[in-house]
Structure formats: structure tokens, C-alpha cells
Symmetry: C3
Subunit: 408 residues, 3 copies
């Protein structure tokens, strides 16, 4: 190795050491706790997860393998379609040394009335983590995750399971913490620090979409998390497109407590004025989701069809809720950071009329990819901090071992 | 590490060493032999598999990784739905270092007429084990496994395959050895030793279920295995619900040879009297399975529907074959160990009327979870003993290496 | 270890060292280049891939593990059914230390209009390789792979991806390089060396099949590759069953340049005379594939049904294009090497009348299995040479480390 390379490597190592040192100062209680809702975690805990994610990302870039499991399963249970979250979870698990096993309910006997309690134990004899995505039914996803958690608690307490597998919420009806935390890490890197986010205006806005029934967990996750860091949050939607009231209440309280502000308004155009960050994204309103859940539960197809028709008609009244060039020009320097969890409904590209204008999206397209790229590391960090009581110490060990991800 | 911890670790190591020492005394011929039917194995061989399973389980509890494969595939082929067996196989393979690949026939060209012989070779170029579940057709599952075995023999002999992958029967039409061996390990631990099982009364009883067509491999596996260890076996079912005659004959012979007994009776209530262990579980009778197989083979849907109707009507005559509190009270001290392969048809919980009363099941629920928890280790032990000529020596090596499953 | 064993091991090591030494002399530019078409690679590059494949195969036989990745994903995307290619890709990835993740489009949001560009990046944050099989639409498969490649280029250039994942063509509309290269390695071993293939006559012949719409990528791959090594190639098919003209042109030019010859003829019986190697395999003709692609794209089911009917009727005029004993007897010593990518349509076995007579196939059956057995190593070699700038040096390192695949 050349001297130059040795020096470079030492510099990187020093930088990683500094980050780990900073991490070690946080007081956290993440160990052996499921990660279900960001607002159940302290700010220090959220910061610790961000830091671990960034360190794992840096390590991988430097060809250092943070494999801490020699074997073990990470089980994913998706009750909704997913490409990016599925691959993010698989990537995170693989990075740490766990093998992914999908619990595919259509393949399994769960479809035949097996209880949640039993299944949770049956799949977990050698499992370390369970990632669950369950966002289809209002009032169900979060409840289901906690039910699984209780079953695992019992299994561990009674000696059925050698350890209590940790749960990672990969999207529930209430929150989407792997998305919002990835978004926050993106913001931290775009603006330089969490400190720099204070006083920044972020607009979480409803946007028009030709489809219907999109979950509320992304906007709820965004307002529920960004309100922790002193930002000025504006939640904009057409009258009637409310989110779950309790989550909005929570976000309001948090915004004030963190030295920021929280405002609800009903015009995308007005809302984005002077915004530093915009997040235009469609969702189905709370009262519709309530009706929809009941119809789904009673399997009322005629009712569902009628509801969809009404909703699409109502949506169509708000086609001006597209994030276009005119609106972009109203934002801070005409260049607010555009965010999206992807895939976006892009006018003229993925649909005729949608959430965002094609040219505007193109301007920020790569940024949205970068945004998404944090998710695998956020998930890995959620696992890592659940696994190790002292994550900083373990990261230090990994750095010392310097195990190569790819042989060289 | 504290002195206390060092002492504890030494104790555990000593205990594991003792178990490995005991294992090393068995004379076995498990090396490079498929595991298809328990009655093809000697008692020493069965004991060796139980011991290896227990040692692997203890090692994992102590964070010792018994990974012996650096790479390699374990292929699972499920011709029937399965959650628990699928995850057990995946867990076992992963524990030893193999990656699972599902041979999903609906996805593959097998559905288009490819021969068994060819497919067996095509998937096995880098495979170490194939786990097969094929329990739907009477006279087919076991036959299919042997056909695959022969194809692999040929492939290895002719230089197509670098090694002969081992086969593990994950449930056939005849036997379900991973289930029955897990059940036996559970009994060994519940009663303290295999020796203690001598003279114990175990009742394998048919039970009512609102569904139809359940395979006979579980009851056959139970009587075929438990009859090896000097237990008093009572097989109870309503007249007409016979199992495969050859398997029952085999169990009878074995029971006598091992110093136990074997009895067939036709009342659950009478059978469970003074039982130490009860295993109430529904199955479809032999003569029905014969008819059903023919109808399935000729794709006679009308015939199948008619048969199902007749069977369900016949089943409904035996709703009193539910394991309830009254029957439980008749067992030894009113507390016979209740067993089930899960999922059970639980009256008032998973169905209106079923195999077992809800409160009775709840009393033994955790025990059935513990019972199921042995299966991954039984499967791993079946692989391990097929792989290594001297499993005790290899386990000793693993202990010496002390590779951690989770970094610490 | 006995002295004899030590000597044997040393011999094997010496032999492997010699092979690696030979490999190190090739000048190649495979590093960081996708493997899409064999005719984009130089002869030295093709030879290097063959050598790496053989060395990896030998290493595994000697229980040496060439695991070079400590973690990482190999993503497979199959837009057509597949058993053998799927398992070959999984085996190759696993051998090198990568975990397979299927991108199943029916499960993912891709089905809902997500763009190729975005998905390619979203799945690749921690991916090392993407294997794509897309052979259904003429003019699409190869195009799609290059589109994915460009998206990955952009993602890497813009910092979205920490590395540019390599692409392996697992079958496109134009070429099937993992198949043809496995076939070539088989020929090399059957005839002793690539040098020995010079002047050998290989007949790539259309053959009758009761099915319709089989891709042209296998015959195209064969003539596109075998024409590089001085063989006399005869492409035989009934009038009208043309392949893509550009590929045939390419093969012709190559045959001449390499000192061989290229001929098209229209009688299997005449073509196989004095052949050293025969490859009788059905395909759908170019002009039909053109029509079919249009009908598929416009979702014209009636048109497709009509086309199928016409084609099957046309096929039926050529049932004499079966490779039977009579034709076999016309080949060199009545014993030309029979090749097939499998599964073959075998008369009297997998169909009534097909590509090859049952007894003739049986004579060469094991050879076709051996042929298929090279594919996992060819795929691994394609990954290995894309990954390491100096594959010989890395193989030397692996040999020196002598990491065991199975603990001993």
C-alpha cells in the first residue's frame, strides 16, 4: 500500500472514531426495545440511530464489514406490496449477517386461521428480528405489531424462545419510522447538521393523485418526526383530507416544545411560499380510511367500489394540488429541497396528472434517490441499537477488527 | 470478564463436553444416509440424532456458532403449505451455514413436464441438502423422495455432482420424522430421560376436526417412533379411521420388542384413562385417502367434492372425540402431557368444534410451543449426522473454536 | 494427515497454481464491464472466464471456499420461468458470499408503473450484481439490460450507489451467454482443449417441438460463440425458421476470422453427416417472433391464439426434424456429442413427438447433465472477473488462505 493510501485510510479511521466518540455520549434506552413510533423515542435516541446509520454507511463505503451475526434470521412480513422497503430490509439484515426469510401469508397456514400468538413464536425459534409492514387497515397495523411483540415477550419469558426477537416497524397505519428517519438523515446531510434544521420551514402537503387509498403513515411520520427538531412545519391539505387527529396533536405539541412551530393550511400554493423543504404527497383522508377499513373488514366489494368512485371524484376537484414550477418558484430562492418517499405520481411520466410536474421532479430526482439510500442503514441502525447495549463500543470493535466486506 | 462469568462458562463447557462424550459412544451409520423413516434407523442412531440436536440447541443458547459450512445451498421443496416446517428447515440450514433456496414448482419449469431425475440433478450442483415435504398423495411422498435419492446417486456416481446431497424427509405420506423426533426430544426433556419413558402410557388418538383430508403421517410417525422406547401405546380412533396397516404392524412389533405394548381401541374417553401423554389429532382414514388419491390423480373434481361431503358427514358423527376437561381429568393425576404438532383445531378459538377444548389447550399451550421448538435442531442434527462421520469429534472442534454467533 | 494425503493435496495445489499462472497471462478488460453478449468480448476475455470458472469448480471440489464477499446482495430478475438458471445464479452468488434476492415483479410496485431507472437504483444500494433474464420479447431483453445499466451508471456517478453493480445476462432476446459459455467449457473438457475444437463440425439444428414460441437466444448464443474458435458451423433449419439476421451475420464473420466456416442448410439429416457435435433444439422463427412481440405488446389475445395455431400447424410439417438413431448414425463414428440446454422435448418421454428420440437422448443424458453443471461456475466467473481487476492474483490469495468450504 502506498503511503498516500495509508494516510487516507488513517484519516477515514480518525473520522469514524470521532463519530463513534460522539455517539458514545448519548444516553439511550434503545436496547431490547422495539422500534414502532418515533415519538416513543427521546431525541437523543433518535440522534443515536441516525449516527449509527451514518457510521454503518461510512464503514461500508470504506469496505469495512459490520457483520456482527454469524447466523440468524431476519423475518420480513409484508401485508402490502413493496419493492424498496423489502430490499432495504434485506440489505440491512444481510449487512449485519442475518438471512432474510419472508413470512408469506398466502403460502403459509396463517391463511387458515392460525392465531398471531402462535405464529409469532413458531417463526422465531432462531430469529433475531422481525420487520413488519402492515399499513392497509386503519387501527390495525400498530395494534398488530404490539400483539406480535406481546406474543414474543411471552415466548421468551416462558423459555420457548432463546431470545426476544426485536421488531422493526416497516410501515404501520400510524407511522413509517424507517422512511421518516431516512428522510431526516437526508435533511441532516443536505443542511449540514440537525442544528441547522432549526427554524427551517418544511411543508408537508397533500398532492393530487389519480389513485386512491394511499396510507397516511408517511405524512404522519414526517410531521411526527420533523416536529422534534425545531422546524417550522406547515401541514397543507384540501379541507376534508385530515390525518389521524391524535398524531397531529402530538406533532403540534412537539413542535412547540422543540422551539419550532406547527400550522395547518389549505392551499399548496400559499403553503410553499418561502419553504426550505417541500414534501408533496398524496394520501387518503382519515374519515375515508375509517369507512374503507370497515368495508374491507366486512368484505363489502360494492361498498368499496362506491367509496372509491366518490373519492376519486373528490380528488379530481384538487388537481391544482400539483407541485409545479410556479409553486417551486415561490419557495425559498425558488429552490426548496423537494422530497418524496417514492414512487411519485409524476405528471406526464407515470400518470397524466399527478403529485408533481415532470420537469420539477427531474430537477430533484437524484436527490430523491439519495434520500431513499439512507433507508437500509436506518433499518440496520434500528437493529444494531436494539441488539447492543453499547453500540459505540461495538462499532469501535468493528473498526478495530477491520474485517473486509470484499476481499482485497 | 468477571471470575464468576469465567466459572459459569467453564461449567457450561464441561456440561457440553460431557454430552459430546456420551454421544461419542454410540455406534451409528447415519453418515451419508438419507433420513426418511425413523424405523429404518437403529435406536442408537435415533439417540445420537436427539443428542446432537440437544447439543446444537445448548450451543446456540450459549452464543456458540456451530457454522460448519462456509457456503452451500439447502433446498426445500414443499408440495404442501407450511409455515412451521418451512421456518424450521430454514433455521436449521442457516445455523449450519447453508443458504435456503426454495424449489417452487409453480415458478419453475417442473410444472411443464420436466422429469424428477433431471430436476434433482439440475438443482444440486452446489447443494448439500434437500428437504422435501410431500404428504398429499398416499403412496407418493415416500416414493418420490426415494426417486430423488436415486437420481442423486446416479448424478454423483457419474461425476455430475461433486457430492451426493442428503435428503431430509420433511413429511411424507408415511412418516413425519422431524415432527416425531422433535416430539420425542420434548418427551425426553419433560420426563427427564428416555429411560423414564419406559412403561409410560401414550395415547395417540384421532380427534374431531371440521376440516378433512389431514395426512396420516403424524399419527403414523408417533406410533412408529414412540414404540421404540418401551412405552405403552394406545392408538384410538372411531371404527373405520384406520392408518396404513403396514405402519401399524411395524409399530406393534417394535412396541413388543422394546418391552412396551401396543393396543388399538375405539373410544377416546376410555383410551385416555391413566394416560401419561395424550396426542389428540385428526386425520383422514386410510381407505378415504386411497380413494382421494385416485380422484386427485384423475383430476375428478366432482368425485372429490362428493367424497369430501361424505367424509365431513362421517366426521360429524364423532364430535365427541374432542379432548376436553372431562377426558383430561381421567388421565394420570388429571394432568397427562398434552401434545400436538400445531396448529390444532381449538374449539371456540380456531373453529366452533374441534380437536381440543379451548381451556384445556390453553393449559398446555406453552408446552406445545416448547415441543415445536425442538424441530429446527432435529433437522440440523439430521443434516449434521449425515454430513460428518464422527459428529462428536466435529462438535468437540466447534466447542474448542468457540466462534460466537453474535459478536460480543 | 497422512503423507499420502499431503502429497495429493500438494499435487492439486500445484495443478491449481499452474492454471492460475496460465490465467494471469491473458490481457483482459472484463473488470467493471457487464457481461451481455459474448461477441462484445475478446477471445482472451472469453478464455479467461472459462479458466476462472474451471478453477472455481476445482477449488470447490477440493473443499476450498472462494468466498470473497463477507456480505452483499446478488439480485435476480426473471421475466420468464426458470429452474436451472435460477439455481445456477443462486449457487454462483452463494459460492462467492452473496445473498440472493429475487426481484419478483408481481410482488413489487414495479407492476404499478414504476420506471426502470428508479427501480434499478432502489434495489441496488447494497447490491453487487444483478442477473437478468428477459427473453420473451424480441427487441426488448437486451435493450432492457442496457437501460438498467445506464441507470446504474448514473446512480453511481451521482453518489446514489456506493458502487456500480455488475450485470450478468441470464438470457436475453439476442444471446444466452451463461448457457453458451457453459456449453463451450463442456466442449473444452470433452475434446481436451479449445485448440482441439478447431476444424470440428458442430451442427446447430432446429428440431421439432409440440410447443411454440421458444426463444432464439440459445441457437444464436451457440453460433455467436462457437464461431470464435475455428469450428465448422452448420446452422440447419426448415425454410422460414430464420434467426435474427444481424446475429447470423456476426457469426459468419467470426467463423471466417477464426479460421473456421459457417454454412446454412435446410435438412437436419444432411446437416448432421460427419458432425462432431450436434445441438438439435427448437425455436420460433424470427418473423413469427416479430409478429408475436407486437401482439403481446398490444395484448391482442385473439391474434396470439391465431398465430399459435398457424405456427403449430407449420411446425407439424417438420416432425422429421427429430434427432433419431438414423441421423445419429450419420455423424462422425455414429457418435457425435449430443448437446442440449435442457429440458429437451424427448419423444415418448416428455412428449409424443419431439426434438430427440428417447433412446438417443438416454445415450447422452448424463453428458447433458455434465454440460449443465458448468453454468453455476460460468456465472461465478463472470461475477469474479467483473469484480477483480486481477482475477489471477485474487485466486492465488484464495488458494493461499485455504479457507475450507466444509469444516474438517
Amino acid at each position: 500500500m502506498l503511503n498516500r493510501d495509508i494516510n487516507l485510510q488513517k484519516k477515514i479511521e480518525m473520522k469514524l472514531k470521532d463519530k463513534i466518540e460522539a455517539l458514545s455520549r448519548f444516553k439511550t434506552d434503545l436496547y431490547k426495545k422495539d422500534f414502532l413510533l418515533t415519538w416513543e423515542k427521546t431525541e437523543e435516541e433518535l440522534k443515536a440511530v441516525l449516527d449509527v446509520a451514518q457510521i454503518l454507511k461510512d464503514m461500508r463505503s470504506e469496505n469495512i464489514s459490520p457483520k456482527v451475526f454469524d447466523s440468524g434470521l431476519a423475518i420480513s412480513q409484508f401485508r402490502d406490496n413493496s419493492t424498496r422497503t423489502r430490499f432495504s430490509f434485506a440489505s440491512a439484515a444481510n449487512l449485519l449477517g442475518l438471512e432474510i426469510q419472508d413470512l408469506d401469508e398466502s403460502k403459509s397456514q396463517i391463511a387458515h386461521g392460525e392465531t398471531v400468538r402462535e405464529t409469532a413464536n413458531m417463526i422465531s425459534f432462531l430469529a433475531d428480528f422481525i420487520g413488519i409492514r402492515d399499513d392497509m387497515f386503519l387501527g390495525e397495523g400498530n395494534k398488530y405489531m404490539r400483539e406480535v411483540g406481546k406474543a414474543l415477550d411471552e415466548g421468551f419469558a416462558k423459555g420457548v424462545l432463546p431470545r426476544r426477537p426485536g421488531i422493526v416497524n416497516l410501515q404501520s397505519d400510524i407511522d413509517h419510522p424507517t422512511q421518516s428517519m431516512a428522510d431526516l438523515l437526508h435533511l441532516k446531510n443536505e443542511f449540514g447538521s440537525l442544528e441547522n434544521l432549526k427554524g427551517k420551514k418544511i411543508v408537508m402537503s397533500w398532492a393530487y393523485s389519480p389513485s386512491y387509498g394511499k396510507p397516511m403513515s408517511v405524512p404522519q411520520g414526517i410531521i411526527g418526526l420533523m416536529s422534534r427538531f425545531g422546524m417550522d412545519i406547515e401541514l397543507a391539505y384540501p379541507e376534508g383530507y385530515e390525518l389521524i387527529p391524535e398524531v397531529v396533536e402530538q406533532a403540534k405539541k412537539q413542535a412547540v416544545a422543540s422551539g419550532g412551530s406547527f400550522k395547518i393550511s389549505h392551499s399548496m400554493k400559499e403553503a410553499v411560499r418561502d419553504a426550505d423543504i417541500v414534501y408533496p404527497k398524496s394520501w387518503a383522508p382519515y374519515h375515508i380510511m375509517q369507512k374503507r377499513t370497515k368495508l374491507l373488514q366486512t368484505n363489502d366489494q360494492a361498498g368499496l367500489d362506491a367509496l372509491e368512485k366518490t373519492c376519486l371524484a373528490e380528488n379530481a376537484n384538487h388537481k391544482d394540488w400539483e407541485y409545479d414550477e410556479e409553486k417551486m418558484n415561490l419557495t425559498k430562492n425558488g429552490d426548496a429541497l423537494y422530497m418524496h418517499c417514492l414512487p411519485a405520481d409524476i405528471s406526464g411520466i407515470s400518470c397524466k396528472e399527478g403529485e408533481v410536474d415532470g420537469e420539477v421532479f427531474e430537477k430533484y430526482r437524484i436527490k430523491t434517490y439519495l434520500e431513499a439510500g439512507y433507508k437500509p442503514y436506518i433499518i440496520a441502525a434500528m437493529m444494531f441499537t436494539q441488539q447492543f447495549e453499547n453500540p459505540a463500543e461495538m462499532l469501535q470493535n468493528i473498526l478495530k477488527k477491520n474485517r473486509k466486506r470484499i476481499s482485497d
